[in-house]
Symmetry: C3
Subunit: 358 residues, 3 copies
């Protein structure tokens, strides 16, 4: 099968009936820890946005532009009641209403900036973008109990990609690349990864890819973080959900547990991967990694975080390189192989969701 990827800069993707992005979705805007005492500027789905946490601890998202002289509000300062512009001091609350024009007794009603629906849950700040910009979100942002259940230690970071979000989806839905790209961390023998048992199922807009590898050598990150006896059985469960992907991987001593049992023991890594378009040609990759150390919780988390960040930097190099090459060569057909099933289904879903509903 030959797949035509509609990659911006490579082929036209926006038609009359298509939005550049799937809308009516909660997207990952930030990690909670990123919203502290300074404004956070981030362009999300082509909207330049400033996020800030007010005096009551609530995170807000406004258009990142003062209505007076267009300075980014993110260049200003956070106060108890809102955010103050750094040029002439206009103060805006979390709804975008101007509370004060310094030196002027009245505030004109036109003094306001656009705000966006935000929800903070389980350490993640979500933002809503709808086809109808006036409509309220049609439900709550997703929960992610891995962060709050107490079963795991976790950390995360926000990476920026000079590549469209679709290529990050491809990468995460096809973990067969571990044997070629991530030899120093979670990879290992390439043949093992390319020949893993793989099962792909689709449920609505979700895709689940499950891969099992039996009796294999644990890769460097695994042995650094967990006291395995020898060979292990490994699992990779990739749960694709439009705005983010949940990946549950791990290993147990070979032959000790059933890999299909969610209560299997051993070493667990639970990855949360928020893939949020910045523009049609760039993306934010906001991730966390959670694990279940046997001992030395802090030290183990440090190791797992460092190796995960290193792994994702490797992916970033590959994906940005891949995208530059797609631009160089233009819209040439791509040839799919056996490992691409999950990625191709996700691609199909994303294309479908870009259709504008009227």
């Amino acid at each position: 099968m030959s797949v035509q990827m509609h990659i911006p800069g490579v082929s036209d993707l926006t038609t009359q009936d298509k939005s550049p992005f799937a809308l009516d979705q909660w997207y990952v805007a930030a990690l909670s820890s990123e919203c502290a005492d300074k404004p956070l500027a981030r362009t999300l789905l082509n909207h330049p946005i400033v996020m800030f946490r007010d005096g009551a601890g609530v995170v807000h998202a406004l258009e990142d532009r003062c209505c007076h002289r267009s300075l980014p509000l993110s260049a200003g300062t956070i106060e108890e009641q809102g955010i103050r512009c750094g040029y002439h001091g206009m103060l805006f609350n979390g709804e975008g209403r101007c509370l004060e024009v310094p030196g002027q007794s009245t505030v004109p009603p036109r003094a306001k900036v656009k705000n966006f629906p935000v929800q903070e849950r389980d350490g993640i700040v979500w933002i809503w973008f709808g086809y109808d910009q006036q409509a309220a979100p049609n439900g709550d942002a997703p929960s992610y109990p891995v962060h709050t259940s107490g079963e795991y230690v976790w950390g995360g970071d926000a990476f920026h990609y000079d590549a469209p979000y679709q290529l990050i989806h491809d990468n995460l839905l096809d973990l067969s690349h571990l044997g070629y790209v991530h030899l120093q961390t979670i990879g290992g023998d390439a043949r093992v990864h390319m020949n893993a048992e793989m099962n792909t199922t689709t449920d609505g807009d979700n895709v689940l890819v499950v891969r099992h590898m039996h009796g294999v050598t644990p890769p460097p990150t695994y042995t650094a973080a967990y006291p395995f006896e020898g060979k292990i059985d490994r699992w990779q469960e990739i749960d694709f959900r439009v705005s983010h992907i949940r990946i549950w991987t791990g290993g147990v001593d070979a032959g000790t547990d059933d890999l299909r049992d969610p209560n299997r023991g051993g070493f667990h890594m639970r990855g949360f991967h928020g893939v949020t378009p910045e523009t049609e040609t760039s993306a934010h990759y906001i991730w966390t990694i959670a694990t279940n150390p046997k001992a030395n919780h802090e030290e183990t988390l440090k190791k797992v975080m460092a190796q995960t960040a290193f792994t994702f930097e490797e992916d970033k190099v590959v994906i940005e390189n891949q995208y530059q090459n797609m631009i160089r060569f233009g819209n040439q057909p791509l040839m799919s192989i056996h490992v691409d099933v999950g990625a191709n289904r996700a691609r199909f879903i994303m294309e479908k969701l870009r259709t504008i509903r009227r």
Copy 2:
């Protein structure tokens, strides 16, 4: 009032009847001190120009392109009689006439480059750009006796802005921003600046903004440079003149002098601000600052220069940030507030002067 700014990259500004710049004007090309033993390359109003001082001490401006193989003449060397190209050695005098083609006995009449009218006065090099490129300037370049009267010590520098000249005008004509942007130098309590007495008058193509602040705390630059007793009365006189702005600011011990009296005592800072478009989207900001030290002339000038340069670097960050945001958001209306009167009048004058006379 909502102002539509015709900012390049944001809205179209050049129509059939409009030049991108106000012409028939002397513009600031350089400080005299910049024209020493090396050619000075600078693009002014879209013209790439090389300036050089010949053996007789006269500064000239030529098109920065050798007519032979197009190398910039600014990559060449200055000689007694003119400037010599660094590729094959053709020598041009200040009028742009070729005096020598090395290895060739004759100089063809076509061997010449365009020159531009230049005048050097009071430490400033001025260049003339007219609607009619053949016509001579219709008068002398402006004088600036502050540099030559002996009353002041002064220094200056040339900054480059990745932003159109109009935004620098805005910034200089509205000094209310001092309380938010320049806290470490000439700012101070933001309320004082936003609530200053302000009087704006227009006279032909000039705009004069006068601001007074009574009984206020002197800001860091003032106390570093002058022995004030305690609270002071401050004045800011902003004199807008199309190609440059003269700003006379200062302070006296509170209640000692009438701020309306030009012979008032105290600490004086006289700023000269040449705002010369490089292109429609970038500008040169060629400035000097003069002051009247009580003692330690050299040391005080050093302090005032350092703090002024720091202040202008802060403005540069704000203005370039502002311009990038205007590009990001496109041509959205800007809301004016009370402090924008002078800036809006200058904007109106500049728009009017861009009209091509036939």
Copy 3:
């Protein structure tokens, strides 16, 4: 005479009947020494190409794009039989045929990438680009016995130019610039170079420029590398050949040998200058320099290599500067002088060869 140069970014050059480049030519792709144990990525005449030396020592050139997910093959690894993609491990041989899709039992026939004809001769890797992409090369790549005769020691390097190849031709065909640009190495008195005897002949698509300078002071590189007695007689023979230029320069003690005799003694520098377009606006300059040391072969070669590299860096600065200025000023006529005869003839030949044969 005024020459209109068809320089990309300056004037349009590609018409219905014109290719951007002269085709049906062997071009210099690399030095042999560049093809070692790592893939070599280089864009040549707009084709992104990866070169690699297989286990049998043969150099191959493939399109630098895996047909699976578009990653550059140059990001992969060389194996005995070919090159393996760094993302999912597909292996391609030198003809571009896929030998293996890991984890998949069959290799689909569509799994292939384009290959290009390559020949390696005398330390140089040549690549063929034809008007008809299917046709075989119409002959062998050029030999260059200077590298292999044993008479000379030599070294080389590959430079990248942000300027079109035509400007490198101009520079190499007109050595009169040595007196202005290369004062520290092979230059010397500018008058001598501008007034050299010059004889230009054309033979088909070749141009030969011969220049003699009698009784002149040897320049720094010459005295550093050779024990001259005093004044010398210098020769410069520039042999232009479409895809590369051979320049034989040198000097003998003044009055001792006939400069027209190819067996003249003294100090010899034989330069090979592969000028290969990267794109219409950028070029590769792949050069070697050979010399005939009297003693201390290794040390003398080191000196000659260092001074030659320094000289070519000076040319690069001039040419890139020149090209930027041509872009700034647009397509203005250039005025030719006496030294431009050879360069203008080469330009004429290149323009002629760009005509597409049907």
